[in-house]
Symmetry: C2
Subunit: 351 residues, 2 copies
């Protein structure tokens, strides 16, 4: 059986070390898995220069785009103003069927805005969340939202729960994903007010679906795993937690170097212990709830990290993440219309 | 110079392994620093039994209290209903001058409610925050609120900023503490809406004080340090981050054991690298903005951890944390009254 080729449009100008690490990451992704076909999106001459310097001229296709969304710019305004921005052109390739997914390690807001405007929202999603898979001690944990929407009330959180559960099913192959709501401590009485409403909203949305709502979970359940495969929260809390976990990993790495110098036993043990958490292999965050695959990575991504993002994007296509999330959301929209006494037609579902 | 004795009332019945670890922790704290004088608060016979079993009968004073706040109870209601609860009696000892500080490793909500009701709020504080000191890579970082108030708007966050800065000055001896607001990423344009208002409110409150507001910081700045000595956020985000950091530490520890077994070089390096982050030495969280010292620790505290909480409580008394926080808050109240055209009298400040 021949493996289906997956074409991934890659933002040539995004990231602290663009274009070099982007080109190197694209070459690496294709070498690692020849069925993954990156397409560089940016100035042709810039791509050609780097590819030529690597002795890889012509090995990767390039599509022209002349503008870039800077880290200091307002993402939405900049994306609107720059019709030839790399992320807009990349999103257009996906929308037009000339690529299967897009990747950027530049401005997260810029890439999200380009994907959202070009792909459009799936029915049932008001604000598409960013999701990441954390290699927790016991099993992978999907954490969302990690920075798309800093404030999220019960309705949004319940949409995130549904999108996250569908993603876990497609990406992790879970038949019955367990969903938890991020909260404080295990003392029940603490979770009142807004989190209580979110709890009830998620419970209602997930009822009757092949998903188990396990209720409140706490911050430690994300790096450790155990109660939930999917952990739902607002974009501020999720982003702070994700960055905190990354910072703690770096804190321990620094500490080990200070304590043991270059002792190879210690270095090897740490590398092995944290391999799955390494930003180089994590593969970025995926924007869920839009009608296409968009992956965003750290601005500080290495070539290895860019390669992981590209391969994660290809994996999301192969695992049919978008159709899976879309189907779950369409079910919810239909159910809500039914409950409200509105007609449920295929047209209503896909509008 | 004789060291001043500091009396610390300790909840005998709080924590997963009470009363044993509480008694052991009290004995350890006093052995480590004889100027620290724990007072056990709970059933006299229970304390006597454990002390006798340790060959330490009569070595630590006990004050009778017959009730306990369970982990499953609603803390505020339970504290109101149980006038002979250990945490209420402990708080009363402090209020009446028979102890200098209180410690509990039982229900966090119960201990906070008892301290709040008995000590009262300092003027200028609507909801007292819980603060913890994180041994970040570069320097200690005060993080607050870590779980007292799950939702906090601009006004509360600015109170937290002021209380946190005063605490950092007293506890860490910083002349000009740097205060940051926890937010998403470094991309400025992301921090709009509610966090923008919080930013402005904190900036306004700290202006003219010996504090430097450094603006937005991100999750990684808590374990790594660098931009801020004090990191301000709401209780949900702070609690999730704190638990996440603890979980990540445990995740790496498990990973190292899986990777290197009992290799003593690796174990020693990890212990050394993370010694300052060890729950056994962290010393719990302090409730700021109440008129007395109250420290709460993990329910799973070891004797070593209980001892650290008791010594942290004594340190807060010695470092005059409450008078320092009170003075900063009184200044703010006076300033606000002046700005509002209201008379500023000493009476108005201390009411």
């Amino acid at each position: 059986v021949e493996q289906q080729r997956v074409r991934v449009a890659v933002d040539l100008l995004g990231g602290d070390d663009a274009p070099d690490v982007v080109v190197d990451g694209a070459l690496l992704a294709h070498e690692t898995d020849p069925s993954v076909v990156p397409i560089l999106v940016g100035p042709i001459d810039v791509a050609t220069d780097v590819l030529t310097a690597r002795g890889a001229a012509g090995r990767i296709e390039t599509v022209a785009a002349s503008q870039v969304i800077g880290m200091g710019e307002h993402p939405v305004r900049a994306v609107r103003a720059k019709s030839d921005a790399t992320v807009r052109v990349a999103a257009r390739l996906v929308h037009d069927g000339d690529a299967d997914a897009m990747v950027s390690v530049g401005s997260t807001g810029g890439a999200m805005a380009a994907a959202l405007f070009t792909f459009g929202r799936l029915p049932g999603v008001s604000r598409p969340p960013l999701a990441i898979v954390v290699a927790a001690a016991e099993h992978p944990v999907v954490l969302l939202d990690v920075g798309s929407t800093v404030e999220a009330g019960p309705e949004l959180l319940s949409q995130f729960a549904l999108a996250g559960a569908s993603y876990a099913r497609a990406r992790l192959g879970l038949e019955l994903p367990r969903v938890g709501l991020l909260s404080v401590g295990a003392e029940d009485s603490k979770s009142e007010g807004i989190r209580r409403d979110a709890y009830d909203a998620i419970d209602a949305v997930l009822t009757g679906l092949p998903v188990r709502f396990v209720g409140n979970v706490e911050g430690s359940d994300v790096p450790l795993g155990g109660p939930a495969d999917v952990v739902v929260t607002d974009g501020l809390t999720g982003n702070v937690l994700l960055k905190g976990l990354e910072g703690m990993l770096a804190r321990v790495a620094h500490g080990l170097t200070a304590a043991a110098g270059d002792d190879p036993a210690v270095r090897t043990a740490f590398a092995k212990a944290t391999a799955a958490l390494d930003p180089d292999v994590v593969g970025g965050a995926i924007l869920l709830g839009v009608d296409g695959v968009a992956i965003v990575g750290h601005g500080g991504s290495s070539a290895q990290a860019v390669s992981s993002c590209i391969r994660a994007a290809a994996g999301a296509v192969t695992n049919r993440v978008v159709p899976n999330v879309a189907a779950a959301l369409a079910d919810l929209v239909a159910r809500r219309r039914r409950e409200a006494g509105l007609p449920v037609t295929p047209a209503a579902v896909v509008t």
